[in-house]
């Protein structure tokens, strides 16, 4: 007959293992699929032709002197070259767009399966979140 302490220990070990699994998935970000919630939140594709063909991954952000600095990878999921343009949209805590229309579209050529690092700095300290807009050239 096994004691209740034995079961309690077993459950504790299982919980610990489950939490470790959760940590490992959030620590390393694989190339995000366009459906991923985080990607959906930060990426807006404006061309039907690019749907499910480009995505973003490795989204990092930090506070630099009160300004939100964003660093992410823009990746081509296909094997063919893609000429795209991107620009950031910035939002405050109430989800209002900040300095709308001031960021210009930047052209970038992505070779097959290539990813490039894209960096952006918020226009002012009220910005709390961002979105990367992508369209075809």
């Amino acid at each position: 007959m096994r004691s209740p302490h034995y079961f309690a220990k077993g459950i504790a070990v299982l919980l610990l293992a489950a939490s470790l699994v959760a940590c490992s998935t959030s620590g390393i970000e694989a190339i995000g699929k366009p459906n991923d919630a985080d990607v959906k939140k930060h990426l807006m594709i404006h061309s039907d032709a690019l749907a499910n063909k480009v995505t973003i991954s490795d989204m990092r952000s930090r506070d630099v002197g009160g300004l939100l600095e964003v660093n992410l990878k823009l990746a081509n999921l296909t094997s063919s070259d893609k000429a795209v343009e991107y620009r950031f949209s910035w939002f405050d805590a109430d989800e209002f767009e900040v300095e709308a229309g001031t960021d210009a579209w930047t052209p970038v050529s992505l070779h097959g399966a290539q990813s490039v690092t894209v960096r952006g700095v918020a226009p002012n300290g009220s910005v709390k979140s961002y979105r990367l807009n992508v369209k075809g050239q």
Binding site: A104, V121, P123
Partner: protein, 203 residues
């Protein structure tokens, strides 16, 4: 009968031809996105200006020593002219206007506008010396804040061309100097390279 048919066919062809020519001459005006990529010619354009401004503003606002200073206060800066060392006529004041506007709107720096110094002097003279302004409300002379930093730079280009290809390389350099010490606190460059190739029929 045959002759009449022939002349009507010729007439119709002429009408259709002139309609096509008239259509070819027609113009269409439409509004476009001012921030979209523009490649009408190889010359310096709006996309170049916007890319330069974005790079410079992001760079200066995230440079650690500048971040340290702007965390404590909003220093006052003045913008000197950007020297145009290219062979093109480029309105460099427009580039610095965009850069200074963005920096100002970030809330990190304040600016003094030296292009308006004469007008300000005239207005202050009117307020203080004309006898027409209530002196309780007149802006006092000699109380303006001196700039702590100066922003300046230059734009240069290298152009190479053959019969079929024209290659233009632009380099924009911007610096921020601490006026009292003369030390350049920040500097960055933005390079742009554009190429135009003639198509097969030289169109």
């Amino acid at each position: 009968m045959l002759k009449k048919n022939r002349s009507s066919i010729v007439g119709l062809t002429l009408v259709a031809g002139s309609l096509l020519i008239l259509q070819g001459c027609s113009t269409k005006v439409g509004y476009q996105d001012a921030t979209s990529v523009e490649t009408t010619t190889i010359d310096f354009g709006s996309t170049d200006l916007q890319q330069i401004a974005a790079k410079m503003v992001d760079s200066v606002l995230t440079f650690p020593p500048i971040v340290q200073v702007t965390n404590e206060r909003r220093p006052v800066m003045f913008v000197d002219k950007i020297k145009n060392k290219t062979t093109e006529h480029i309105d460099t004041e427009s580039i610095t206007d965009t850069i200074s506007t963005r920096i100002l709107r970030s809330g990190k720096f304040r600016f003094v506008d030296m292009t308006k110094a004469a007008e300000v002097q005239e207005q202050l003279g009117f307020q203080n010396n004309s006898g027409m302004v209530n002196q309780d409300t007149a802006a006092q002379i000699g109380r303006q804040i001196g700039a702590e930093y100066m922003m300046y730079g230059n734009l240069s280009s290298i152009v190479k061309k053959t019969n079929d290809v024209k290659d233009v390389y632009y380099k924009f350099t911007l610096k921020v100097m601490h006026l009292e010490s003369g030390i350049v606190e920040w500097s960055d460059e933005k390079e742009i390279r554009k190429q135009r190739e003639k198509s097969l029929f030289g169109m």
